[in-house]
Amino acid sequence: MMSLLTIKNLSVAFGNPANPFRAVENMDLTVNQGEIVGIVGESGSGKSVTMMALMGLIDAPGRVTADELSFDGKNLLKMSARERRKIVGKDIAMIFQDPMTSLNPSYTVGYQIMEVLKVHQGLRGAALKQRALELMEMVEIPAAKSRLDAYPHQLSGGMSQRVVIAMAIACNPKLLIADEPTTALDVTIQAQIMELLVNLQKSQNMALIMITHDLAVVAEVADRVAVMYAGQVAELGRVPELFRQPAHPYTEALLSSIPEHSKGAERLSTLPGIVPGQYDRPSGCLLSPRCPYAQERCRAERPLLTPSANGSVRCHFPLIAQPVEIRDRKVAQ
């Protein structure tokens, strides 16, 4: 099956071209139609930047390069900005962390929802309003009709996020990217919004990329998960196998800190230190300064993403050695 989204060797660099800071480096990810992919990783690991690059929202002097960036059979890299905007907001939609600041304070909720429909689907007049109401009902906004003329400051955080979701699903996107959609919300609301997203994903048959710090959520809803570290994919694989049997030391550390993580902590107690930033990236494996299993080779040589038991892993000494088939083949030889 051809995947809906293919990202191959994506890099995003900021700053001085002579000595760039690669916020994202050699990023590989595929997403199939109708699939939920979780992306996890500590703060600063490049989750948002990757998605912004996909949406074409990285501004100069930031630079995006990739071997492949294709969506629904179309090469996004070869498109003009104008062609790309026909896909962005329509077939690929994105929602962000803080709903209270994601809506323009000067325009009504109705205006902001209808704007998407006008621009991408050319709807006008009664049909436009009708569709906006329909969307607001789909995201379970009570008294939708009266809320059409409300301004964002008159809405609660949860209600604002529903509006943002309504805007995002307005044109029946094939892929919805949710970048920590519940982090800024009350705990009670978080579960509601997450449930809404998962329900919409099913009913609309969208693919969903769910960026979160909450591994419990990923374990519950995602089909696959990408664990990111310092701008790279550390490990990628199927849920729940990957969680049961992590191959990468970083995944293992993430998992062992789950209790704090589900409360939204952004740093790991099980792994001292922080994600290396612009000036302190080590030359070998990016995790080597923090990794309890690090050896000489780790500090000298960067590991590549290679197949593992439950997907792929970027580590010289994976915790479960090799994919089963490969090991079997070796035995047979």
């Binding site: 929202l57 907001g89 329509k90 962000f96 803080d98 600041t101 000067s106 621009v119 301004y151």
Partner: protein
């Protein structure tokens, strides 16, 4: 919203009282009274001087004079000029259109060019254009108006001969004032009698252009800087990212989602520039011999024409206050968070 208007209104009365007290006091602090100034170098008979002062009511103690002044004001009486004997209000209404025309032209120039430059500088942040706009506006802001006016006159009027040096219209034209706006009056006159008034409109425009640029320079600099910084701030907002993630065109993102919000602080700054404009008008009108309120007030001060100075400044201050008040209300309308505040 009503409460908002009411609160703003309640500050006005102390402001007015302050202005009356200031002008009343300041003009009397300048040495020399109206009679002495009128007589000039010639020696003045003390008896005649006292008589004249008595006639003008200027021999009373200051508090009594101030009380008289306030009583007159309460009756809506702005008094009359000590020199021309014409009523202050009449002189004001006669001269005001000239100032208004100059200020309007200056403001249109400042707002149009300032907004445009600010928006483009923000979008092309860090570019040569951006640095250019910021450099020029910093210079513009700190430029002494007098010097700037003279430089422009020397270059465009004297050297190139493109524009006249002073006044509102060439003396060859005789145009009856209808609106008081020379640009409109000359246009009407030219249309009514094309042969006698040929070229009057263009002549009026040529007279207006340099003073308007000189007067508009400081507001232009302020508006450009404010627009740029406000745009840059709004461009970083999450909702601008949302707008872009919706796949909207850059024009929509800039004009609908950024500029509208960025304009709110710019609007306030534009309102505040009305005060600067009146101050600048005094200088500009003096440089270009523009027959408006600024020149009128300067002349009145040098003649110690107390009623004209006191009431002229009071009227101008009132105007500025009213304009700022209107801007405050517009601000409320532009910003739904204020509009809906109880």
């Amino acid at each position: 919203m009503l409460l908002f208007i009411f609160r703003r209104l309640s500050v006005l009365i102390p402001t007015f009282l302050g202005v009356t007290l200031l002008t009343f006091g300041l003009i009397r602090m300048i040495p020399g009274d109206p009679i002495e100034v009128m007589v000039g170098e010639r020696t003045l008979d003390p008896v005649m001087h006292a008589e004249a002062m008595h006639r003008l009511g200027l021999d009373k103690p200051l508090p009594a004079q101030y009380a008289d002044y306030l009583t007159n004001l309460l009756h809506g009486n702005f008094g009359e000029s000590l020199i021309t004997r014409d009523s202050v209000w009449h002189e004001f209404t006669t001269l005001f259109p000239a100032t208004l025309e100059l200020a309007t032209a200056a403001m249109i120039f400042a707002v149009v060019v300032g907004l445009l430059a600010g928006v483009v500088a923000a979008i092309k942040r860090g570019s040569i254009f951006d640095h250019g706009v910021m450099g020029i506006s910093l210079t513009g802001f700190s430029m002494p108006i007098f010097w700037w006016g003279l430089i422009l006159i020397m270059f465009f009027s004297v050297k190139l001969g493109w524009t006249p040096v002073s006044g509102r219209l060439d003396l060859a034209y005789d145009i009856t004032p209808r609106t008081g706006f020379m640009l409109i009056d000359s246009w009407l006159a030219e249309r009514a009698d094309p042969s006698a008034n040929a070229g009057a409109f263009v002549d009026a425009l040529k007279h207006l252009i340099l003073p308007a640029i000189v007067l508009g320079t400081i507001p232009l600099a302020v508006i450009a800087r404010m627009t740029r910084s406000s745009m840059l701030e709004v461009l970083r907002e999450d909702y601008v990212r949302t707008a872009r993630a919706k796949g909207l065109s850059p024009a929509r993102v800039i004009f609908i989602h950024t500029l509208r919000n960025a304009l709110i602080p710019v609007l306030t700054v534009i309102g505040l520039q009305v005060g600067t404009l009146m101050g600048g008008a005094v200088l500009t009108e003096t440089i270009f011999s523009w027959p408006g309120i600024g020149k009128w007030l300067i002349d009145a001060i040098s003649r110690r024409d107390y009623p004209v100075v006191q009431n002229g400044i009071l009227i101008v201050a009132t105007l500025i206050i009213v304009v700022n008040f209107i801007v405050d209300i517009l601000y409320g309308i532009a910003n739904p968070r204020i509009r809906h505040a109880k």
